[in-house]
Each structure stands twice: as structure tokens, then as C-alpha cells.
């Protein structure tokens, strides 16, 4: 703790004088400066005028006079291990041990804006940009060393924090070369990168610096963060989404000490110095709201989607003559797949702290896009963007845009209204009920086989929520009657909607829906999980119709050796027996056993993932148990194999929960699945054995790892259930009721 406070003090002293921070920061800042880089011995004392321009090396990296370094990035680590991966890539180019590199992320006053976290782009875009800055700095350090040592650059190396002659002899530390100085160096996009054959840090399972603190309660979370004089607030959401606040009876909370009510039109909150008092007040306060019934209800949502008006159609693939090929096919198949609305369901509900002062404001948040959030909140709440500082802190994993941005808006609005620093903590019910949801998806597929059992025709029709320009609306501004954007973006919904196999005649069309229920956002691997579920389930249906083994059927349509390798490896690991599905001898007592396979190339252009599963289906209860999962994963260059495995394991387990259990339920007025009982996720007893093979390609660029292994999960599961029980599950989640209904329908 001693070193942490020493670091923070320096950081505070420095930031206090930085030109970019022109307003009082309060005593809160240093805690965060230290929070971001647990365990690093680097001192955080960057040069005086912190550059934020992503074209400048100074924006990303600072070298201190003791030879340590600090890395600055807008890309935040939401538990994925980006922090260590990015540090390793910088360390490799700079010849500095990872422990000597501090990490500051997602602070609009300190970090350049080179994009937010999302779409598995942290390594391939975020860390690759930092690596280029580090490579530029490496050349610069070598040049400076050459001058000082009076030797040509070609004879020098940069290693262990020193520029020194390659053949031995006296070197000079990088701290002495440039420590504490502004580099004023543009990032050189052509600066040569270290040869992967010489890597000593990248590719190693370097432990994540945050883990010891997370296991000993020393890692500071946003939820733990306080500022002096801070009050606790709770926002009271209406009982129906569009309800208006008619009246509030403040006498109903008379017996709770030291609470006040904040009301701005339909925005209702309670504020107290004691957190428990705020919670009690929020649950006790009597308020009357108007009726509102603007939702279609989640029962029969598929039907609703098919009846919804389409804004426009988009043709994604049109090749050959699919209509004629279908008519002429030896066998024709069609099937409809549907995916429900799902919640990010973060384990810790969203939180934010805001401190609005006369001369500027600060918001502490776990937003995945602190810069985007800063710009948006500044506009909505009328604070000049250069007077609003947004600072990221670690919190519960978010998996996309959960309620965090809304909590930030809540805190900012309340702090602005009462003139005091405010902490807003959402309840469990609010997080499940009000986080923007991952959208429902519906896909209709048609396919034709020729007499030899090859796919000769394929058609995908999909219905997606329309994209609307502008930012996603924040709840607080709508409730308070503050004008704002009502944009809609849910991530790339149309990737992986065509089969990755050679098909001569193909049509892929997206229908963008005019209206969809609930506020939506990006949820981990947006679109892709449902798309691969549909495409890879349907591929399995075609294989079964052709009487072919599912792996052999896929291999026949693949020519890319990397695709073939992941498919074969996943099959090998599970001990795949070549035969068509369903399993001719599935019965093990009351259980039916089977195995399934799915393959995807993520976003059709990135990671190759092959995944096989062994499951049992209980005939009596309809319960599916997943026993084993094998995954072969090729993401190009592997930066940190252990961090990568952790992400793949998490992707598989989380998505098993999404496929088996998760569906947002709502009536005409509100979301009704608002806790872990009504919205269950995967639990410990359901956890299968997970085996992973990493196919490392050190000379190729790295792809991200936070999402790709999610994509084939639901399909592999559905295919295994088909193998075991001979029934095809086309609607997620695969609840016991649905399994039983499917079993009954085959009898």
C-alpha cells in the first residue's frame, strides 16, 4: 500500500499541473492513478504537458528518469486481460520488463482516444497501435544511444532498459537517455517491429498484474470508490417503461434519516449520506405513476417480429441462381432459428460516481468507451467537453454496453442538481430490467443438396433491429425531459450469416425492422452467436439429410488449411467417431448421449474456431448436461497463451448459459426477468470439462479473443443434442420444457 500511495501522490502532483487538466480534480484522482496498475513498480510521473494526440508517441508512452515507463490507452480491460497483453507488446518493443511499465487507461484527461473497448479489437487494433508507438520510440532510443555511445545504430541493441552494443560493452539506460522528457515524436507507421523469432515476452503466459489484488481485496473497484463529501443516490425507475411520474409522497420516507428526494420531471432519485438509508428510501418512497403498455410482451416474440414492418432490405450475397438451384435440388430443406433478447447480466450492477463543480466535472465509470461517453454526456448535460473528465475504473465485467453509461448519466445529473459528489449504485432488479439488451434475432434458412449430397443452394433471410444514427439514449435524460439522441446500434449483426463452405448458388438478405421492443445495445459477439447457431445448425441438418458424417460433410466444403486444421483438431480432441447423426445407440439408462460439432471463422475474416461437445439429454426431465467441450482456436499471433485460454473458457461457459437458460421476459409494461431466479445463467454444477488447443501463428497479425469462441457454442450444443436425442432445437434457450416438447413431437 505504501508504494501505491507514493505513486498516487506523484501522479496527483503531476496531473494537478498538467495543461490538459484545467479544473480542480479533487482528492479523488490519485486513488485511481494507482488503481490502474496494481503491482507495477513504475513511477507515474509523465512529462509536464501530456499529449493526447494519437499521432504522437508521447500520448501512448512516457519514459521516466528511473527507466520505468507508463502506457496510456483509451482501451480498457474489462477483465479480459487486455492490460497485460498490451503491456507485453509494448515491453517487447521497448526492451523493458513488464513490471516496469505502468498502465493508465480510459481517462479522458490522460489517455489518447484511439477507440473504446469492444468487438474483440483491444489487441488487434488497440495494442497494435501502442506497439507501433513503442516501435517508433525504440528507433528513437537507439538513435539517441548511438549519439551518446558514438556507435552506429546497427551495432546497438535495446534490451533490459538499456541501449548497448550488441557485442557487449558499456550501455546507457533509457531513463538517462530520455527520462522525464517530452519526446515530441510522431508515431511512425513504418517503424520496424521486432522480429517475432526474437520475442521473449510476447507469447509467454505472463501473469496478470490485477489478479493478486482481486484475490486479496486489494484491487480497487469502481464500486469501492469514494470521494470526500460524497452522497449515495438511488434512482427510482418507473413500474412501466414509458410511465409518467404523477406524484410523490415524501412523507413515506420520514422515518429514514438524512434523505432527500431529487425530482426532475419523471426522473426520481433519493440521496443520503448513508448508503443503506438511500436503499431503504428508494424502496419505501411512495410514488404514483401513469399506466403504460407499449410493449408487445415476450410471449410469441417470433410472430411479432415477422409481423413488424421492415424499414429496408439489404442484399448481402447474391450468387448464381439459388431459386433455380433449390427447385432442381435432389433434396430441399428449410428451417427457422430464433434467438431471444438477452441481458448483459453483469454480476455487479452498474455504478458511477460524479462530481460536478462550478469549474468542471468528473465522472468515474466502468464504461467501455470513456471518450465516447464524455463527448455524449457533455453535449446532453451542457458541460463543455474540455471541462468534463471521464475516468474509467474496473468493475464487474460488462460484455458490451450494460447499464454503466446510464449510471454515469444518473450520477452526473444528480450531482449537477445538488452540487455535491454523488455515487449511484444500481440494484439487481434495475440492472436486469434496464440495461440495454442484446437484440432478438430470427433467421430463416433454405438449402438444397445435389444427388451426391453436396450443398448446391443456400438462402439466409434474417430479421434484425434497424440501425438508427446518433448515440443510444441514456435513461436519465429521457426521464428528466432533456433532449438527446435516440440512436440504435447493436454491433455488426450480419456477419457469419453465410456458410463458410463452398456453395455455388447463394442468397443472403437482411431485413431491417422498423420497430423492436426495449432499448438495445451491443452484447458480446453481437449477432454472430445467433448467426452461427443458425448457419451451423442448418449445415448439420443438411449433413443429416445427406446421411453424411458432420465433420466429413464440413471438410468437403472447406479449402482454407487453417479452417481444416481447427475442425480436425477439435474433432480429434473429443475422440470423434465418423458416422452420421443421430447417434444409433444413444441410450445410457434414462440419458441419451451424443456429440456435436460447429465451426466458424469469426466475422468471416478473423479467428478460426472449431468446437466439439459431448452432451446427455435426460428423457424424463428434458435436462441437457454438457459433459465435455473441445475447442481449437487460431487467432494468429498468440500474445499471452494463459490469458487467451481464460478468455476462451469464459466465452464457452458464458455462452452455454446463454444457450441453455437466458431469455429476457417482459409483459406489456416492463421487463419481468429481473433477478437470477427469473434470469438464470450457467451455474457451477453445470460446468463441463473444457479442453483447448491454441494454434499459434507467430508471424501473422493477432486477432482478438474476447468473442470468437462464443460463436460456435450454441450450434455445437444443438448439434450434439440432435445427435443424442434425434431432435432439433431451433429456439434458444434450450429449456427442459422445450426439449420435452421436441421429444414428444417425435413420438
Amino acid at each position: 500500500m505504501e508504494t501505491l500511495s507514493a505513486i498516487s501522490r506523484r501522479d496527483f502532483l503531476w496531473t494537478g499541473s498538467a495543461v490538459v487538466v484545467s479544473f480542480a480534480l479533487g482528492a479523488a484522482l490519485p486513488q485511481n492513478g494507482a488503481a490502474q496498475n496494481p503491482g507495477a513498480s513504475a513511477s507515474l510521473s509523465p512529462p509536464l504537458a501530456k499529449s493526447l494526440d494519437p499521432k504522437e508517441v508521447d500520448s501512448f508512452l512516457a519514459i521516466q528518469s528511473d527507466g520505468s515507463a507508463t502506457l496510456y490507452t483509451s482501451r480498457v480491460d474489462v477483465g479480459t486481460g487486455l492490460r497485460i497483453a498490451m503491456t507485453q507488446m509494448a515491453a517487447e518493443e521497448l526492451g523493458i520488463p513488464v513490471e516496469r511499465i505502468g498502465f493508465v487507461s480510459g481517462d479522458t484527461a490522460l489517455t489518447p482516444n484511439h477507440g473504446g473497448t469492444g468487438g474483440s479489437t483491444g489487441v488487434p487494433q488497440g495494442a497494435v497501435a501502442v506497439r507501433q508507438a513503442a516501435a517508433t520510440l525504440r528507433q528513437h532510443l537507439l538513435n539517441l544511444g548511438a549519439e551518446q555511445l558514438q556507435r552506429p545504430v546497427a551495432e546497438l541493441v535495446l534490451a533490459e532498459g538499456q541501449v548497448r552494443p550488441a557485442n557487449g560493452g558499456q550501455g546507457i539506460g533509457i531513463g538517462a537517455l530520455t527520462g522525464g522528457k517530452r519526446l515530441a515524436l510522431p508515431v511512425d507507421p513504418k517503424a520496424p517491429l521486432k522480429n517475432p523469432a526474437e520475442y521473449t515476452v510476447v507469447g509467454k503466459p505472463v501473469p496478470r498484474p490485477d489478479v493478486p489484488g482481486k484475490c486479496t481485496a486489494r484491487h480497487p473497484y469502481l464500486q469501492d470508490f469514494t470521494v470526500p463529501g460524497m452522497l449515495h443516490a438511488r434512482v427510482i425507475r418507473p413500474p412501466a417503461i414509458g410511465a409518467k411520474l404523477l406524484s410523490v409522497d415524501e412523507s413515506s420516507i420520514r422515518n429514514i434519516p438524512d434523505v432527500r428526494v431529487v425530482r426532475i420531471e419523471n426522473f426520481l432519485a433519493v440521496v443520503a449520506s448513508d448508503e443503506w438509508a438511500a436503499i431503504r428510501a428508494a424502496t419505501s418512497l411512495q410514488a404514483t405513476w401513469s399506466e403504460w403498455q407499449g410493449l408487445p410482451g415476450s410471449e410469441g416474440l417470433d410472430r411479432h417480429i415477422r409481423q413488424t414492418a421492415v424499414d429496408h432490405d439489404q442484399s448481402l450475397v447474391s450468387r448464381g441462381d439459388p431459386a433455380a438451384a433449390l427447385t432442381g435440388a435432389a433434396k430441399q430443406l428449410s428451417a427457422t432459428y430464433s434467438w431471444p433478447l438477452q441481458s448483459h447480466a453483469s454480476l455487479g450492477p452498474s455504478c458511477a460516481v460524479a462530481d460536478v463543480k462550478a469549474d468542471g466535472a468528473t465522472v468515474w465509470t466502468a464504461s467501455q468507451g470513456p471518450h465516447r461517453l464524455r463527448n455524449y454526456l457533455a453535449g446532453v448535460f451542457g458541460i463543455p467537453a474540455d471541462k468534463l473528465r471521464v475516468v474509467y475504473m474496473d468493475a464487474s465485467g460488462s460484455y458490451g454496453t450494460n447499464g454503466g453509461d446510464d449510471a454515469a448519466a444518473d450520477a452526473l445529473l444528480i450531482s449537477k442538481t445538488i452540487g455535491k459528489p454523488v455515487r449511484v449504485q444500481w440494484s439487481r432488479e434495475d440492472e436486469h430490467g434496464w440495461d440495454p439488451k442484446g437484440p432478438a434475432q430470427l433467421l430463416e434458412l433454405r438449402g438444397g443438396l445435389d444427388a451426391e449430397g453436396r450443398i448446391i443452394a443456400w438462402e439466409t433471410q434474417m430479421w434484425n433491429p434497424n440501425n438508427l444514427p446518433g448515440n443510444r439514449a441514456v435513461l436519465a435524460a429521457d426521464a428528466a425531459g432533456i433532449p438527446q439522441d435516440h440512436g440504435q446500434a447493436t454491433g455488426s449483426m450480419v456477419q457469419n450469416t453465410e456458410p463458410p463452405y463452398a456453395v455455388p448458388n447463394m442468397l443472403v438478405t437482411a431485413h431491417w425492422l422498423k420497430e423492436t421492443p426495449l432499448r438495445l445495445s451491443n452484447l458480446r459477439a453481437p449477432g454472430k452467436i445467433a448467426n452461427v447457431f443458425a448457419v451451423e445448425s442448418f449445415t448439420d441438418e443438411l449433413a443429416a439429410a445427406a446421411g453424411a458424417d458432420p465433420v466429413a460433410f464440413r471438410l468437403r466444403g472447406l479449402s482454407d488449411p487453417r479452417a481444416i486444421e481447427v475442425l480436425q483438431r477439435a474433432a480429434e480432441m473429443i475422440g470423434w467417431q465418423t458416422r452420421p447423426s443421430p447417434n444409433p445407440r444413444p441410450a445410457q439408462g434414462n440419458l441419451l448421449a451424443g456429440r456435436g460439432m460447429a465451426y466458424a471463422r469469426y466475422k468471416q475474416a478473423e479467428n478460426y474456431v472449431g468446437m466439439a461437445m459431448e452432451v446427455t439429454v435426460d428423457r424424463a426431465s428434458g435436462r441437457i448436461s454438457v459433459r465435455r467441450v473441445t475447442c481449437a482456436h487460431d487467432c494468429g499471433l498468440v500474445v499471452n497463451p494463459d490469458g487467451l485460454r481464460n478468455q476462451i473458457e469464459g466465452s464457452i461457459l458464458q455462452t452455454l448459459g446463454r444457450a441453455l437458460h437466458e431469455e429476457v421476459k417482459f409483459d406489456r409494461s416492463r421487463v419481468t426477468s429481473v433477478d437470477w431466479k427469473s434470469y438464470p445463467i450457467l451455474t457451477f454444477p453445470e460446468v463441463p470439462t473444457v479442453e483447448i488447443a491454441l494454434l499459434d501463428r507467430p508471424t501473422l497479425p493477432p486477432y482478438g479473443a474476447g468473442e470468437p469462441a462464443t460463436a460456435p457454442v450454441a450450434a455445437a450444443l444443438a448439434n450434439a443434442v440432435f445427435d443424442a436425442a434425434g431432435v432439433r432445437l431451433r429456439t434458444v434457450p434450450f429449456t427442459p420444457e422445450r426439449v420435452l416438447a421436441a421429444l414428444r413431437s417425435t413420438r
Binding site: G79, T216, G348, G397, W676, K677, V687
Partner: protein, 153 residues
């Protein structure tokens, strides 16, 4: 305001609360600055707030300060430090058994309680023993390895 005496991480403490029904979680986090236990649901459904009460895992969101009075409470802070971790913490660190780490407190405290009662659990016993602790990041397989590693230590 009423006062309550508790033993927290081996030390006798006195805390004040205006409401005897106030959950222990808020007393630990806000009055005592112990941030190990996390707020996840407040509904006794997720385990993020787990502490040990008299050596057994308990949900601090669902135990009132009045019920906690006179009892001996251990939080994650009370197990060990990064420099001197408890064997269960050391096992979680060795297995890198965290992603966001929001569930980690509950997982470690529930595992500690499990190992107190069942020092050599089978993998199935660990899974059942931690059935009430949720991890949204899906770190379950590593947590399982960590608990089995700690049992062997």
C-alpha cells in the same frame, strides 16, 4: 444510534447503525472500509457478498447487523495479503482464477468454508459446494482447479 459489537478479522469493533435491519454488507463496506465483500444482488442469489461468520460461509447482504452482533466475521481482507496470501488465495492466484474478479471474493470465501468442512473434496463436491456462487465471466473451470489445488496444498 444503536451500537453493535462484532469481531471482524480478529479485531473487536463497535459499529453504529440507525437500523437494526441494515445488512452486514454495508457495515463492512462503508463503516469499516472492507471492500472484499461485493454487492451483487442483495437477494441471497449470487454469493458475491460472502463472508465467514464463525468460520462458515454466509451472505452478508442477507444477515442484519443485529444478527451479526457478537459473532466473529472474516472477510477476504482477513485471509491474507498479496505478500502473504492464505493457501486458498494463493491457489486462485496461481491458477489466474479471475476475469473481472467481481465474483472472486465470494468464490474464495465459499471455498474456504467448503475446505474447512471437506478438506479433500472431489471435483463434484466442489461444484456442488459452490453451486450458489455465480460467475458471469465464466471462470468456473479455473476456480474449480484453484479449489482442488488449495485442497492439495
Amino acid at each position: 444510534m444503536a451500537q453493535y459489537r462484532l469481531r471482524v478479522n480478529g479485531r473487536a469493533v463497535r459499529v453504529e447503525s440507525w437500523d437494526p435491519a441494515q445488512p452486514l454488507l454495508y457495515v463492512l463496506r462503508n463503516s469499516l472500509g472492507l471492500h472484499g465483500p461485493k454487492f451483487g444482488c442483495g437477494l441471497d442469489q449470487c454469493g458475491a457478498c460472502t463472508v465467514l461468520i464463525d468460520g462458515k460461509a454466509a451472505r452478508s447482504c442477507s444477515v442484519s447487523v443485529r444478527q451479526a452482533a457478537g459473532r466473529s466475521i472474516t472477510t477476504l481482507e482477513g485471509l491474507g495479503t498479496p505478500e502473504k496470501p492464505d493457501p486458498i488465495q494463493a491457489a486462485f492466484i496461481a491458477e489466474e482464477a479471475a476475469q473481472c474478479g467481481y465474483c472472486t471474493n465470494g468464490m474464495i470465501m465459499a471455498a474456504k468454508s467448503l475446505l474447512n468442512q471437506t478438506p479433500n473434496p472431489t471435483p463434484e463436491q466442489v461444484k456442488r459446494g459452490l453451486a450458489g456462487n455465480l460467475c458471469r465471466c465464466g471462470t468456473y473451470t479455473r476456480i474449480l482447479s484453484a479449489v482442488l489445488r488449495a485442497a492439495k496444498a
